[in-house]
Protein backbone atom coordinates (compact mmCIF):
# COMPACT_ATOMS: atom_id res chain seq x y z
CA UNK A 1 0.00 0.00 0.00
CA UNK A 2 1.35 3.42 -0.91
CA UNK A 3 1.44 5.78 2.02
CA UNK A 4 0.57 9.38 1.29
CA UNK A 5 3.40 11.58 2.56
CA UNK A 6 2.48 14.44 4.86
CA UNK A 7 2.44 17.95 3.40
CA UNK A 8 6.02 18.97 2.76
CA UNK A 9 5.86 22.17 4.73
CA UNK A 10 4.88 20.31 7.86
CA UNK A 11 7.71 19.81 10.22
CA UNK A 12 8.79 21.20 13.54
CA UNK A 13 10.41 24.36 12.24
CA UNK A 14 7.85 25.01 9.54
CA UNK A 15 5.10 24.80 12.12
CA UNK A 16 7.02 26.94 14.56
CA UNK A 17 7.56 29.69 12.01
CA UNK A 18 3.97 29.52 10.85
CA UNK A 19 2.85 29.83 14.48
CA UNK A 20 5.19 32.78 14.90
CA UNK A 21 3.54 34.52 11.98
CA UNK A 22 0.08 33.69 13.28
CA UNK A 23 0.73 35.11 16.75
CA UNK A 24 2.06 38.39 15.40
CA UNK A 25 -0.28 41.24 16.18
CA UNK A 26 -0.49 42.97 12.84
CA UNK A 27 2.21 43.54 10.28
CA UNK A 28 5.81 43.81 11.41
CA UNK A 29 7.38 47.24 11.58
CA UNK A 30 9.40 47.98 8.47
CA UNK A 31 12.99 46.85 8.70
CA UNK A 32 15.27 47.65 5.79
CA UNK A 33 17.80 45.22 4.43
CA UNK A 34 17.86 41.49 3.96
CA UNK A 35 18.40 38.32 5.89
CA UNK A 36 21.06 36.45 3.96
CA UNK A 37 21.11 33.24 5.92
CA UNK A 38 19.21 31.67 8.77
CA UNK A 39 20.56 29.02 11.06
CA UNK A 40 17.60 27.78 13.04
CA UNK A 41 17.79 26.39 16.56
CA UNK A 42 20.61 25.74 18.97
CA UNK A 43 23.42 23.23 18.70
CA UNK A 44 23.47 21.23 21.93
CA UNK A 45 26.21 18.98 20.71
CA UNK A 46 29.57 19.57 22.24
CA UNK A 47 31.59 17.98 19.48
CA UNK A 48 30.39 19.22 16.10
CA UNK A 49 27.96 21.60 14.44
CA UNK A 50 24.53 20.45 13.37
CA UNK A 51 22.62 21.53 10.31
CA UNK A 52 18.90 21.17 9.85
CA UNK A 53 18.17 19.07 6.78
CA UNK A 54 14.40 19.10 7.04
CA UNK A 55 14.57 22.42 5.17
CA UNK A 56 15.33 20.40 2.04
CA UNK A 57 11.72 19.28 2.18
CA UNK A 58 10.48 22.84 1.99
CA UNK A 59 9.33 24.33 -1.27
CA UNK A 60 11.24 27.32 -2.59
CA UNK A 61 8.17 29.43 -1.91
CA UNK A 62 8.00 28.41 1.73
CA UNK A 63 11.73 28.94 2.15
CA UNK A 64 11.17 32.56 1.13
CA UNK A 65 8.19 32.86 3.47
CA UNK A 66 10.27 31.50 6.32
CA UNK A 67 12.87 34.21 5.82
CA UNK A 68 10.15 36.86 5.75
CA UNK A 69 8.70 35.56 9.00
CA UNK A 70 12.12 35.74 10.62
CA UNK A 71 12.56 39.29 9.35
CA UNK A 72 9.28 40.16 11.06
CA UNK A 73 10.48 38.56 14.28
CA UNK A 74 13.67 40.62 14.21
CA UNK A 75 11.75 43.80 13.45
CA UNK A 76 9.38 43.29 16.37
CA UNK A 77 12.15 42.38 18.78
CA UNK A 78 14.30 45.30 17.62
CA UNK A 79 11.44 47.71 18.08
CA UNK A 80 11.01 46.48 21.63
CA UNK A 81 14.70 46.63 22.38
CA UNK A 82 15.48 49.93 20.70
CA UNK A 83 12.37 52.15 20.83
CA UNK A 84 14.48 55.19 19.99
CA UNK A 85 15.57 56.13 17.47
CA UNK A 86 12.79 54.72 15.38
CA UNK A 87 13.71 52.18 12.79
CA UNK A 88 14.17 53.68 9.35
CA UNK A 89 11.34 53.16 6.95
CA UNK A 90 11.62 50.44 4.35
CA UNK A 91 12.46 53.01 1.71
CA UNK A 92 15.27 54.57 3.70
CA UNK A 93 18.32 53.13 1.99
CA UNK A 94 21.72 53.65 3.50
CA UNK A 95 24.72 54.06 1.31
CA UNK A 96 27.38 51.38 1.72
CA UNK A 97 29.99 54.11 1.26
CA UNK A 98 28.66 56.37 3.98
CA UNK A 99 31.37 57.11 6.48
CA UNK A 100 30.04 56.33 9.90
CA UNK A 101 31.66 55.34 13.11
CA UNK A 102 34.95 53.66 12.47
CA UNK A 103 34.41 51.28 15.33
CA UNK A 104 32.85 47.85 15.23
CA UNK A 105 30.15 47.21 17.74
CA UNK A 106 28.36 44.37 19.33
CA UNK A 107 24.93 45.69 20.16
CA UNK A 108 23.15 43.54 22.68
CA UNK A 109 20.84 43.64 25.63
CA UNK A 110 23.29 42.53 28.26
CA UNK A 111 23.10 44.60 31.39
CA UNK A 112 26.22 46.65 31.68
Amino acid sequence: MTQTPPPLEHGHWAQRLQAEAARADGPAPPLPGRILRAKLGYNPNSSSIGSLISVLLWSSAFAAVAINILQGVVARQALGAHPRPALPSAGDQHSEATAGSAGETVADERPS
Binding site: P5, P6, L8, H10, G11, H12, W13, R16, L31, P32, G33, R34, I35, L36, R37, A38, K39, L40, G41, Y42, N43, P44, N45, S46, S47, S48, I49, G50, S51, L52, I53, S54, V55, L56, L57, W58, S60, A61, A63, I67, L70, V73, V74, A78, A81, H82, H94, E96, T98, A99, G100, A102, G103, E104, T105, V106, A107, D108, E109, R110
Partner: protein, 401 residues
Protein backbone atom coordinates in the same frame (compact mmCIF):
# COMPACT_ATOMS: atom_id res chain seq x y z
CA UNK B 1 18.88 40.15 20.63
CA UNK B 2 22.59 40.41 19.97
CA UNK B 3 24.07 41.93 16.83
CA UNK B 4 27.68 41.23 15.84
CA UNK B 5 29.35 42.98 12.93
CA UNK B 6 30.77 40.72 10.22
CA UNK B 7 32.18 41.11 6.70
CA UNK B 8 28.77 40.57 5.13
CA UNK B 9 26.84 42.80 7.55
CA UNK B 10 26.12 41.24 10.90
CA UNK B 11 24.98 38.14 12.70
CA UNK B 12 21.81 38.66 14.67
CA UNK B 13 21.15 36.18 17.48
CA UNK B 14 17.58 35.76 18.64
CA UNK B 15 16.29 33.35 21.25
CA UNK B 16 12.58 33.10 20.47
CA UNK B 17 12.61 31.36 18.13
CA UNK B 18 16.29 30.51 18.53
CA UNK B 19 18.23 31.42 15.41
CA UNK B 20 21.41 33.01 14.14
CA UNK B 21 20.64 35.27 11.21
CA UNK B 22 23.17 36.67 8.78
CA UNK B 23 21.93 40.08 7.69
CA UNK B 24 23.24 42.60 5.22
CA UNK B 25 24.80 45.95 6.23
CA UNK B 26 21.54 47.80 5.68
CA UNK B 27 19.72 45.72 8.24
CA UNK B 28 22.76 45.67 10.50
CA UNK B 29 22.75 49.47 10.60
CA UNK B 30 19.04 49.56 11.29
CA UNK B 31 19.69 47.31 14.27
CA UNK B 32 22.30 49.64 15.67
CA UNK B 33 25.50 48.02 14.44
CA UNK B 34 28.35 50.24 13.28
CA UNK B 35 30.53 48.18 11.03
CA UNK B 36 31.78 50.52 8.34
CA UNK B 37 35.42 49.69 9.03
CA UNK B 38 34.90 45.97 8.66
CA UNK B 39 32.56 46.31 5.71
CA UNK B 40 35.17 48.43 3.96
CA UNK B 41 37.97 45.94 4.71
CA UNK B 42 36.54 42.44 4.93
CA UNK B 43 38.81 39.75 6.34
CA UNK B 44 37.26 36.65 4.89
CA UNK B 45 36.37 34.99 8.20
CA UNK B 46 34.09 35.64 11.13
CA UNK B 47 35.01 38.09 13.86
CA UNK B 48 34.72 35.24 16.40
CA UNK B 49 33.21 31.77 16.53
CA UNK B 50 29.44 31.72 16.76
CA UNK B 51 29.72 28.78 19.11
CA UNK B 52 32.40 27.14 21.15
CA UNK B 53 32.34 23.60 22.44
CA UNK B 54 33.57 23.46 26.00
CA UNK B 55 34.45 20.19 27.67
CA UNK B 56 33.79 20.86 31.32
CA UNK B 57 35.04 17.45 32.43
CA UNK B 58 36.61 14.25 31.17
CA UNK B 59 34.99 12.38 34.06
CA UNK B 60 32.46 9.71 33.12
CA UNK B 61 31.87 6.19 34.43
CA UNK B 62 30.22 4.86 31.26
CA UNK B 63 33.42 3.75 29.53
CA UNK B 64 31.89 3.83 26.03
CA UNK B 65 34.34 2.10 23.67
CA UNK B 66 33.92 4.91 21.13
CA UNK B 67 34.33 7.90 23.46
CA UNK B 68 36.12 10.55 21.45
CA UNK B 69 37.75 12.13 24.49
CA UNK B 70 38.61 8.85 26.19
CA UNK B 71 36.71 9.84 29.34
CA UNK B 72 37.31 7.83 32.50
CA UNK B 73 35.67 7.67 35.96
CA UNK B 74 38.38 9.89 37.37
CA UNK B 75 38.99 12.03 34.29
CA UNK B 76 40.35 15.53 34.83
CA UNK B 77 38.48 18.81 34.97
CA UNK B 78 39.48 22.35 35.80
CA UNK B 79 38.09 24.35 38.73
CA UNK B 80 34.92 26.29 38.02
CA UNK B 81 36.68 29.62 38.40
CA UNK B 82 38.96 28.77 35.48
CA UNK B 83 36.06 27.54 33.37
CA UNK B 84 34.20 30.75 34.16
CA UNK B 85 37.16 32.86 33.16
CA UNK B 86 37.30 31.00 29.86
CA UNK B 87 33.60 31.70 29.33
CA UNK B 88 34.18 35.36 30.10
CA UNK B 89 36.83 35.57 27.40
CA UNK B 90 34.53 33.89 24.91
CA UNK B 91 31.73 36.29 25.77
CA UNK B 92 34.11 39.22 25.39
CA UNK B 93 34.94 37.98 21.91
CA UNK B 94 31.28 38.02 20.94
CA UNK B 95 30.60 34.27 20.95
CA UNK B 96 26.86 33.54 21.01
CA UNK B 97 26.52 29.94 22.16
CA UNK B 98 28.57 27.47 24.15
CA UNK B 99 27.91 23.74 24.03
CA UNK B 100 28.96 22.19 27.33
CA UNK B 101 29.92 18.56 27.33
CA UNK B 102 32.32 15.98 28.60
CA UNK B 103 32.74 13.34 29.95
CA UNK B 104 29.46 13.47 31.80
CA UNK B 105 28.88 17.13 32.57
CA UNK B 106 26.07 16.50 35.04
CA UNK B 107 28.58 14.86 37.37
CA UNK B 108 29.97 18.31 38.04
CA UNK B 109 28.09 19.69 41.01
CA UNK B 110 28.98 23.20 39.96
CA UNK B 111 27.65 22.74 36.41
CA UNK B 112 24.65 24.88 37.28
CA UNK B 113 26.80 27.73 38.52
CA UNK B 114 28.84 27.54 35.34
CA UNK B 115 25.71 27.54 33.16
CA UNK B 116 24.14 30.41 35.09
CA UNK B 117 27.36 32.36 34.75
CA UNK B 118 27.34 31.80 31.00
CA UNK B 119 23.78 33.16 30.91
CA UNK B 120 24.81 36.20 32.91
CA UNK B 121 27.54 36.84 30.35
CA UNK B 122 24.99 36.80 27.55
CA UNK B 123 26.06 33.39 26.26
CA UNK B 124 23.45 30.72 25.60
CA UNK B 125 24.68 27.50 27.23
CA UNK B 126 23.58 24.22 25.68
CA UNK B 127 24.32 20.78 27.05
CA UNK B 128 25.22 17.29 25.92
CA UNK B 129 24.63 14.53 28.47
CA UNK B 130 24.28 10.76 28.55
CA UNK B 131 21.20 11.22 30.70
CA UNK B 132 22.92 9.36 33.51
CA UNK B 133 21.78 10.78 36.82
CA UNK B 134 18.85 12.67 35.35
CA UNK B 135 16.02 13.19 37.82
CA UNK B 136 12.97 15.45 37.76
CA UNK B 137 14.92 17.90 39.91
CA UNK B 138 17.93 17.86 37.60
CA UNK B 139 15.66 18.27 34.58
CA UNK B 140 14.13 21.36 36.19
CA UNK B 141 17.60 22.80 36.67
CA UNK B 142 18.33 22.14 33.01
CA UNK B 143 16.01 25.00 32.13
CA UNK B 144 19.07 27.20 32.32
CA UNK B 145 20.16 25.68 29.02
CA UNK B 146 18.92 26.70 25.62
CA UNK B 147 18.65 23.03 24.72
CA UNK B 148 19.81 19.73 26.13
CA UNK B 149 20.63 16.75 23.93
CA UNK B 150 20.98 13.26 25.33
CA UNK B 151 23.41 10.83 23.72
CA UNK B 152 21.32 7.99 22.35
CA UNK B 153 22.55 5.89 19.45
CA UNK B 154 19.66 3.45 19.26
CA UNK B 155 17.41 1.18 21.27
CA UNK B 156 18.28 -2.02 23.11
CA UNK B 157 20.86 -4.07 21.27
CA UNK B 158 21.73 -1.16 18.99
CA UNK B 159 22.66 0.99 21.98
CA UNK B 160 24.57 -1.96 23.41
CA UNK B 161 26.47 -2.47 20.16
CA UNK B 162 27.38 1.18 20.01
CA UNK B 163 28.26 1.98 23.61
CA UNK B 164 28.99 -1.37 25.19
CA UNK B 165 26.02 -1.29 27.59
CA UNK B 166 22.30 -0.78 27.19
CA UNK B 167 21.60 2.73 28.37
CA UNK B 168 18.70 3.40 26.03
CA UNK B 169 16.00 3.20 28.68
CA UNK B 170 17.85 5.66 30.88
CA UNK B 171 18.41 8.04 28.01
CA UNK B 172 14.76 7.94 26.96
CA UNK B 173 13.73 8.49 30.57
CA UNK B 174 16.02 11.50 30.75
CA UNK B 175 14.48 12.91 27.59
CA UNK B 176 10.98 12.40 28.95
CA UNK B 177 11.91 14.19 32.20
CA UNK B 178 13.44 17.05 30.25
CA UNK B 179 10.40 17.37 28.02
CA UNK B 180 8.09 17.31 31.04
CA UNK B 181 10.17 20.07 32.61
CA UNK B 182 9.68 22.16 29.51
CA UNK B 183 13.30 21.91 28.43
CA UNK B 184 13.92 21.91 24.70
CA UNK B 185 15.58 18.56 24.15
CA UNK B 186 16.72 16.05 21.59
CA UNK B 187 19.12 13.22 20.96
CA UNK B 188 22.69 13.15 19.74
CA UNK B 189 22.94 9.95 17.76
CA UNK B 190 26.14 8.48 16.40
CA UNK B 191 25.07 7.15 13.03
CA UNK B 192 27.39 4.38 11.93
CA UNK B 193 27.18 1.01 10.22
CA UNK B 194 26.02 -0.54 13.48
CA UNK B 195 23.34 1.99 14.37
CA UNK B 196 21.86 2.91 10.98
CA UNK B 197 19.44 -0.07 10.90
CA UNK B 198 17.97 1.01 14.25
CA UNK B 199 17.32 4.60 13.26
CA UNK B 200 13.61 4.24 12.30
CA UNK B 201 12.78 2.68 15.68
CA UNK B 202 14.80 5.31 17.47
CA UNK B 203 12.99 8.20 15.78
CA UNK B 204 9.63 6.72 16.72
CA UNK B 205 10.75 6.38 20.35
CA UNK B 206 12.05 9.94 20.42
CA UNK B 207 8.74 11.31 19.19
CA UNK B 208 6.95 9.34 21.88
CA UNK B 209 8.95 10.82 24.77
CA UNK B 210 8.55 14.39 23.57
CA UNK B 211 11.99 15.05 22.11
CA UNK B 212 11.85 17.48 19.22
CA UNK B 213 15.20 16.95 17.58
CA UNK B 214 17.75 14.37 16.64
CA UNK B 215 21.24 15.31 15.56
CA UNK B 216 23.04 12.59 13.67
CA UNK B 217 26.77 12.44 14.25
CA UNK B 218 29.25 10.71 12.01
CA UNK B 219 31.55 8.20 13.67
CA UNK B 220 34.92 9.85 14.10
CA UNK B 221 38.17 8.03 14.72
CA UNK B 222 39.47 9.97 17.69
CA UNK B 223 40.03 9.03 21.31
CA UNK B 224 38.88 5.45 21.90
CA UNK B 225 36.95 5.74 18.63
CA UNK B 226 40.08 4.92 16.64
CA UNK B 227 39.91 1.25 17.62
CA UNK B 228 37.08 0.05 15.42
CA UNK B 229 36.69 2.91 13.00
CA UNK B 230 37.01 0.78 9.87
CA UNK B 231 34.27 -1.56 11.05
CA UNK B 232 31.90 1.19 12.18
CA UNK B 233 32.23 3.75 9.42
CA UNK B 234 29.25 3.88 7.09
CA UNK B 235 29.72 1.79 3.99
CA UNK B 236 29.90 3.63 0.71
CA UNK B 237 26.39 2.63 -0.35
CA UNK B 238 25.03 3.80 3.00
CA UNK B 239 26.87 7.09 2.70
CA UNK B 240 25.62 7.71 -0.82
CA UNK B 241 22.03 6.99 0.16
CA UNK B 242 22.18 9.02 3.36
CA UNK B 243 20.25 12.11 2.32
CA UNK B 244 17.34 10.39 0.55
CA UNK B 245 17.14 7.95 3.45
CA UNK B 246 17.00 10.73 6.02
CA UNK B 247 14.52 12.85 4.10
CA UNK B 248 12.17 9.89 3.87
CA UNK B 249 12.46 9.50 7.64
CA UNK B 250 11.90 13.21 8.16
CA UNK B 251 8.66 12.94 6.25
CA UNK B 252 7.53 10.10 8.48
CA UNK B 253 8.40 12.03 11.66
CA UNK B 254 7.39 15.63 11.01
CA UNK B 255 7.54 16.66 14.68
CA UNK B 256 11.27 15.90 14.82
CA UNK B 257 13.95 18.24 13.57
CA UNK B 258 16.39 16.09 11.70
CA UNK B 259 19.94 17.40 11.78
CA UNK B 260 23.26 16.14 10.59
CA UNK B 261 26.61 17.24 11.89
CA UNK B 262 29.20 19.11 9.84
CA UNK B 263 31.16 15.95 9.06
CA UNK B 264 28.21 14.44 7.19
CA UNK B 265 28.08 17.23 4.61
CA UNK B 266 30.17 15.31 2.01
CA UNK B 267 27.60 12.51 2.18
CA UNK B 268 24.72 14.98 1.97
CA UNK B 269 26.22 16.49 -1.16
CA UNK B 270 26.32 13.07 -2.85
CA UNK B 271 22.70 13.73 -3.74
CA UNK B 272 23.44 17.10 -5.37
CA UNK B 273 21.08 19.08 -3.12
CA UNK B 274 20.47 22.71 -4.09
CA UNK B 275 23.50 24.66 -2.87
CA UNK B 276 21.55 27.90 -2.54
CA UNK B 277 19.03 26.32 -0.18
CA UNK B 278 21.77 24.71 1.90
CA UNK B 279 23.53 28.04 2.27
CA UNK B 280 20.35 29.95 2.97
CA UNK B 281 19.52 27.75 5.94
CA UNK B 282 22.98 27.50 7.37
CA UNK B 283 23.99 23.98 6.37
CA UNK B 284 27.75 24.00 6.88
CA UNK B 285 30.64 21.62 6.49
CA UNK B 286 34.01 21.96 8.19
CA UNK B 287 33.97 25.37 9.84
CA UNK B 288 36.56 24.49 12.45
CA UNK B 289 38.42 27.58 13.55
CA UNK B 290 35.82 29.90 12.10
CA UNK B 291 32.18 29.24 12.96
CA UNK B 292 33.20 26.93 15.75
CA UNK B 293 36.10 26.29 18.02
CA UNK B 294 36.60 23.97 20.95
CA UNK B 295 38.01 24.15 24.43
CA UNK B 296 39.31 20.93 25.94
CA UNK B 297 38.88 19.97 29.58
CA UNK B 298 42.35 21.34 30.29
CA UNK B 299 41.08 24.64 28.81
CA UNK B 300 43.36 24.42 25.81
CA UNK B 301 41.76 25.54 22.56
CA UNK B 302 41.51 23.59 19.30
CA UNK B 303 39.84 24.42 15.98
CA UNK B 304 37.42 21.52 16.55
CA UNK B 305 36.64 19.05 19.34
CA UNK B 306 38.05 16.15 17.32
CA UNK B 307 41.43 17.72 16.72
CA UNK B 308 43.72 16.83 19.58
CA UNK B 309 46.59 19.26 18.97
CA UNK B 310 45.90 22.49 20.86
CA UNK B 311 46.67 25.92 19.49
CA UNK B 312 47.06 27.46 22.94
CA UNK B 313 44.83 28.64 25.76
CA UNK B 314 41.39 30.14 25.32
CA UNK B 315 43.03 33.53 24.94
CA UNK B 316 44.24 32.47 21.48
CA UNK B 317 40.62 32.34 20.33
CA UNK B 318 40.25 35.96 21.38
CA UNK B 319 43.59 37.69 21.11
CA UNK B 320 45.04 35.77 18.15
CA UNK B 321 41.82 35.03 16.29
CA UNK B 322 42.94 37.08 13.28
CA UNK B 323 46.59 36.06 13.34
CA UNK B 324 47.05 32.49 14.56
CA UNK B 325 48.69 30.53 11.74
CA UNK B 326 46.77 27.31 12.40
CA UNK B 327 43.40 29.05 12.41
CA UNK B 328 44.26 30.98 9.26
CA UNK B 329 45.29 27.81 7.43
CA UNK B 330 42.15 25.92 8.39
CA UNK B 331 39.94 28.76 7.20
CA UNK B 332 41.76 29.22 3.90
CA UNK B 333 41.90 25.54 2.99
CA UNK B 334 38.95 25.55 0.61
CA UNK B 335 40.26 28.62 -1.20
CA UNK B 336 43.96 27.85 -1.53
CA UNK B 337 44.92 24.31 -0.70
CA UNK B 338 42.10 22.03 -1.69
CA UNK B 339 43.42 19.31 -4.01
CA UNK B 340 41.25 17.43 -6.47
CA UNK B 341 38.56 16.31 -6.38
CA UNK B 342 37.70 19.01 -3.83
CA UNK B 343 39.22 21.79 -5.93
CA UNK B 344 36.64 21.36 -8.69
CA UNK B 345 33.75 20.21 -6.49
CA UNK B 346 30.66 22.44 -6.71
CA UNK B 347 30.18 22.05 -2.95
CA UNK B 348 33.77 22.99 -2.00
CA UNK B 349 32.87 26.30 -0.39
CA UNK B 350 30.22 24.62 1.75
CA UNK B 351 31.83 21.27 2.54
CA UNK B 352 35.40 22.53 2.84
CA UNK B 353 37.05 19.17 2.32
CA UNK B 354 34.95 17.11 4.68
CA UNK B 355 35.90 15.97 8.14
CA UNK B 356 39.50 16.76 8.91
CA UNK B 357 39.48 14.48 11.94
CA UNK B 358 38.85 11.53 9.63
CA UNK B 359 41.56 12.72 7.26
CA UNK B 360 44.02 12.98 10.14
CA UNK B 361 43.31 9.41 11.17
CA UNK B 362 43.40 7.88 7.69
CA UNK B 363 46.06 10.00 6.01
CA UNK B 364 47.81 11.79 8.86
CA UNK B 365 46.91 15.06 7.19
CA UNK B 366 43.88 17.21 8.01
CA UNK B 367 44.01 18.80 4.59
CA UNK B 368 43.66 15.57 2.65
CA UNK B 369 40.19 15.20 1.05
CA UNK B 370 37.82 13.27 3.28
CA UNK B 371 38.42 9.60 2.37
CA UNK B 372 34.78 8.65 3.03
CA UNK B 373 33.32 11.29 0.71
CA UNK B 374 31.50 9.52 -2.15
CA UNK B 375 33.02 11.95 -4.65
CA UNK B 376 36.51 11.28 -3.32
CA UNK B 377 35.95 7.52 -3.45
CA UNK B 378 34.87 7.77 -7.10
CA UNK B 379 37.87 9.98 -7.90
CA UNK B 380 40.25 7.52 -6.25
CA UNK B 381 38.87 4.76 -8.48
CA UNK B 382 39.21 6.94 -11.56
CA UNK B 383 35.45 7.02 -12.03
CA UNK B 384 33.12 9.86 -12.91
CA UNK B 385 30.96 10.68 -9.93
CA UNK B 386 27.26 10.15 -10.45
CA UNK B 387 24.93 11.78 -7.92
CA UNK B 388 22.27 9.68 -6.25
CA UNK B 389 18.62 10.66 -6.77
CA UNK B 390 17.44 12.83 -3.91
CA UNK B 391 14.11 11.03 -3.64
CA UNK B 392 13.16 7.47 -4.48
CA UNK B 393 11.48 8.68 -7.66
CA UNK B 394 14.50 10.75 -8.64
CA UNK B 395 12.94 14.16 -8.10
CA UNK B 396 14.02 16.97 -5.82
CA UNK B 397 11.33 17.59 -3.20
CA UNK B 398 12.25 21.27 -2.91
CA UNK B 399 11.42 21.78 -6.57
CA UNK B 400 7.69 21.71 -5.83
CA UNK B 401 6.50 25.28 -6.23
Amino acid sequence: MKVRVEDFGAIVAIDDPPALLHVDPTMARALGAQGEARWASPRGWLSAPTEVHVLVTERCPAGCPSCYVGATPDGPERPKEEVMRALQRLADAGVFHVALGGGESILREDLWEIAAYARALGLVPNLTTSGMGMTARVAERCRVFGQVNVSLDGLGTVYQASRGYDGAAGALRALRLLAEAGVSCGANTVLCHRTLPGLPALLAALEKVGAHEVELLRYKPTGRGTRDYEERALHEAEARALLPTLLAMAQRHPSLNLKIDCSFVPFLCAADPPLELLERFGVIGCEAGNVLAAVRADLQATPCSFIEAPIGGVDVLVDAWDSDATLLRWRAYHEREAPEPCASCPYRTLCKGGCKAVSVHVHGDPFHPDPECPRVRAWNRGETFVAVPLTPNGGHPHARQ
